[in-house]
């Protein structure tokens, strides 16, 4: 913060390039979409953390997640760095601050030439038993996502949504309750929420959910007893709760389950057409991204005079910011997608 050195502006030293957001004075990219020499990774989701970078800087949890997902290809030199303490990269001071999105997710606070820019990555403000909460950091430029940046997106209280799963399970003891949830973060959050709601029976997993759940448990997130669907016969699953990746819900894999009741945990479930398109019988509005109220509240909390908007519904958030006296521009980063969230 403070005086602007020699009239330098943040856009002079932090730029959008084909490989992603590049910080020249620190010579690093944040969440690059191509292989680079030095990458700073906000969190482990596939459109932010990619394999094959030479040097990687991320939180210890994100490094573990990348190792689990990419193995040898996670990066040649993996450097973990905990929340809060500052690291110097050439002319730049950098630190990680919790983003509340998934385990290990961080905002990257970059200070250079008397200015502070926060690259928030993906974030949410709602409580999540699997990761520390988002911390607002005052800054000159706040770079924000806009996945759910329309006033129609107001996520429900997650506990209410979890109660629907338990009610459905009680109502249909002869059916398997199949919950579609993104494999990193959402799956473990749904399990942790079920545990918070007092559900202590074993929870069943599609094979693709297993490794990251084990990692979460190793990193100290208690998920209770988890079992593999592959290791039991179909009839044993009536009345049980099963977590699967969204893509498996209506795929051949689900045919082995007894009359599955299909649920899906995602912020998109707020819109009926999206839920019906996926053939979902029980939509659960549980998201790891900020909803409209959280986005606008966050912009007020960080108090930045300027925001840059990355992926999602940029137009609406830019409109809101400008109507509220905040300079705003859409960054149009490539390689960011609406994940199944």
């Amino acid at each position: 913060m403070g005086a602007m050195a020699k009239g330098l502006k943040p856009e002079d030293w932090l730029k959008v390039t084909p490989a992603g957001l590049y910080c020249a004075p620190g010579d690093f990219y944040v969440d690059p979409v191509r292989r680079v020499d030095r990458a700073v990774i906000t969190h482990g989701h596939g459109d932010h953390a990619r394999p094959g970078n030479k040097r990687v800087l991320a939180t210890p949890e994100t490094i573990e997640i990348m190792k689990t997902r990419f193995g040898e290809d996670a990066g040649r030199d993996l450097q973990d760095h905990s929340y809060g303490s500052t690291v110097s990269l050439d002319d730049v001071a950098l630190r990680f601050v919790p983003a509340g999105h998934v385990l290990g997710s961080a905002q990257v606070v970059i200070e250079h030439a008397g200015q502070r820019v926060v690259v928030s990555g993906d974030y949410k403000r709602a409580p999540d038993p699997t990761c520390p909460p988002f911390e607002p950091i005052a800054c000159d430029v706040f770079i924000t996502e806009a996945t759910f940046a329309l006033p129609v997106f107001r996520h429900a209280d997650a506990a209410t949504e979890i109660a629907k799963v338990l009610a459905a399970q009680a109502l249909f003891p002869e059916r398997a309750v199949l919950v579609g949830a993104y494999g990193l973060g959402k799956c473990q959050r749904v399990i942790a929420l079920l545990r918070q709601a007092g559900y202590d029976r074993p929870i069943w997993l599609h094979g693709a959910q297993r490794n990251l759940c084990d990692l979460y448990q190793r990193l100290g997130v208690d998920l209770g007893e988890l079992r593999d669907v592959a290791e039991t016969d179909k009839n044993a699953l009536a009345g049980e709760i099963i977590l699967a990746p969204p893509g498996a819900l209506n795929d051949r894999w689900s045919r082995r389950l007894p009359d599955p009741l299909t649920a899906m945990a995602s912020g998109w479930m707020r819109v009926r057409a999206r839920a019906r398109q996926r053939g979902v019988e029980l939509p659960l509005v549980i998201s790891d991204h900020a909803d409209w109220d959280e986005l606008t509240q966050t912009l007020k909390d960080v108090g930045a005079p300027e925001i840059w908007v990355t992926h999602g519904r940029e137009e609406a958030l830019v409109h809101w910011a400008e109507s509220n006296g905040i300079r705003a521009r859409a960054l149009s980063l490539i390689g960011r997608e609406d994940e199944d969230d």
Binding site: N250, R255, D259, V271, R272, Q277, G279, H319, S323
Partner: protein, 531 residues
């Protein structure tokens, strides 16, 4: 309102018919009057609120979110009622009004006070209630429920034959308190008295393959290719009911005008062409219209060919044998002496081979097939075994190439089970396939599994739930008929298509040419269809 909103919400996400019936039944048993009666009205066709329209909702939503954010939200969600419900800010948690109160207040409110009334409710509702309220007043719930299905739900919930419900239905008015009182055993069955109510149709079973009947016991007549209707005229009131018991009077003013009689006639509604009755496609132009233009009335005049007489001058003939009813019907038509009501003649046959010969002629004559009715049959509601049979003309078939496959619904949601197929035509760069129809039945479960596997292994492109496949699999498609249609890219529409055989053996290049299908069309000029 909470229970009604929850019902609509569950109906939206529940694909199966039986599950929908159970949800509605539960609601009808539990909800109080008059809420459930208004819910029934809404599900069975809608409640009209003259002052609460889409414009009012749009205005409220814009006030809430601002014009720009409303526009972006509406673009994204695509449904006005849902957009408004989602973006509304809750202001308190006071008990929202009941469905009955909402209907009463809206019916009593003027144009000016309606938006304020809505706004005051919306703030105190949760998102599902807001959505239900806004859907209710914009009409068109789109929860996959027809009037008929709602009546079946009542029938199952209160263990009463649906025919009995249909019989009293049109004599009752929303919110149907007398209906529920009767269904719950607290009142007598409502008496339609002199009202022109619907009588449930008697229906036929398909004649099983190879069955031969003794011709002397059976009345044989053509199955005309129109729509089955019931004409009811009593005490100066006239109604035309469709097979599902819906009142379609407004669509056919020409038929209404003819109904200068006191009775109930069962017959086939047809339109007149240059040489007698026109093909079904011509009639289709007149269906499902709330109003009908003079031009349409002149170009496609409707008339009714009578099959049966259920009531005459207040006396119920349904217990009498068919032959007696037919004698009275013939005299009835002669007395009316109007060209727009004629008799479906019975055909005299002496042996079964003649019946077979007639059935073989049905297509050439433009008839849907034959009807066989026991001469001594009473007119009984529903599909009674052994009394009436229909023997449809044999279907046409064509070998078509699979183009696209779509995931099914409910239990079939993991299978690619809805198939779009095409025929060859000359394109700018040689032969090309153009879609000619879509079918999702006709195959066994085992064949479905094999088709699903084939689709997954031969996918070219994916568009959400749809896959484009290699043009390499041939279906023998059976269909009742083909009509010219400007609504389809190929220029034709198939009626009742189904997959009769999977031709694993046949090369796609040997599938049908579009020209061959065009030659089968029953009407010759592309018709202008307005939906």
């Amino acid at each position: 309102m909470k229970a009604f909103a929850a019902l609509l919400d569950r109906l939206v996400y529940t694909p199966g018919r039986n599950a929908k019936l159970r949800l509605m039944g539960d609601y009808f048993r539990r909800a109080p009057d008059p809420d459930r009666g208004w819910a029934l009205t809404a599900l069975a066709g809608g409640i009209d609120f003259p002052h609460a329209k889409a414009g009012a909702i749009r205005g409220l939503a814009m006030e809430q979110a601002g014009e720009e954010l409303f526009r972006l939200s509406y673009d994204y969600v695509g449904d006005l009622a849902e957009t408004c419900a989602l973006l509304w800010q809750e202001t308190g948690t006071a008990d929202p009004p009941t469905l009955g109160e909402i209907v009463a207040r809206l019916h009593g409110a003027g144009r000016a006070e309606t938006p304020g009334l809505l706004a005051s409710w919306l703030g105190h509702m949760d998102v599902t209630e807001r959505w239900a309220l806004l859907k209710l007043i914009t009409g068109g719930l789109r929860v996959g429920v027809s009037a008929r299905l709602a009546r079946v739900a009542l029938s199952e919930a209160f263990d009463t034959p649906v025919e009995e419900i249909e019989e009293v239905w049109h004599g009752l008015a929303p919110p149907y308190s007398a209906l529920f009182a009767w269904l719950e055993g607290q009142a007598e069955k409502p008496d339609p008295g002199a009202l022109p109510v619907f009588r449930p149709f008697m229906l036929a079973h398909p004649l099983a393959d190879g069955v031969e009947l003794e011709p002397s016991a059976w009345l044989v007549e053509w199955k005309w290719d129109g729509v089955r209707v019931q004409l009811v005229s009593r005490g100066g009131e006239r109604r035309i009911y469709s097979r599902s018991g819906d009142d379609i009077s407004a669509t056919f003013p020409d038929v209404l005008e003819m109904m200068n009689f006191d009775g109930v006639v069962d017959g086939e509604l047809l339109v007149r062409g240059p040489t007698g009755e026109a093909p079904f496609n011509d009639l289709q132009q007149r269906l499902n219209r709330k109003t009908v233009s003079k031009k349409m009335l002149a170009e496609r005049p409707a008339f009714v060919r009578a099959y049966d007489l259920l009531m005459e001058a207040g006396s119920d003939l349904r217990d009498q044998p068919l032959t007696a009813r037919r004698t009275r019907l013939a005299a009835f038509i002669e007395r009316l002496d109007h060209p727009d009501l004629d008799l479906s003649e019975s055909i005299t046959v002496s042996e079964w081979a003649e019946v077979e010969a007639l059935q073989a002629e049905a297509r050439r004559l433009g008839r849907e097939g034959l009807m066989l009715k026991r001469r001594d049959s009473a007119y009984e509601a529903g599909r009674v075994k052994g009394l009436w049979y229909k023997w449809k003309r044999d279907p046409l078939t064509a070998d078509c190439v699979l183009l696209y496959a779509q995931r099914g619904h409910g239990k079939r949601s993991s299978y690619y089970s809805d198939f779009t197929f095409g025929a060859w035509r000359d394109g700018e760069t040689g032969q090309e396939l153009v879609p000619v129809g879509k079918a999702y039945f006709g195959f066994t479960d085992e064949e479905l599994r094999a088709l699903d596997k084939w689709v997954r292994e031969h996918t070219l492109n994916r568009f959400g739930p749809v896959r484009e496949v290699e043009k390499a699999l041939v279906f023998e498609v059976a269909f009742d008929s083909i009509h010219m249609s400007s609504r389809h890219k190929s220029g034709i529409a198939m009626r009742f298509p189904r997959i009769s055989r999977i031709r694993w053996d046949k090369p796609a290049a040997e599938a049908e040419a579009l020209d061959m299908l065009l030659a089968l069309a029953e009407n010759d000029a592309p018709s202008h269809e307005i939906s």
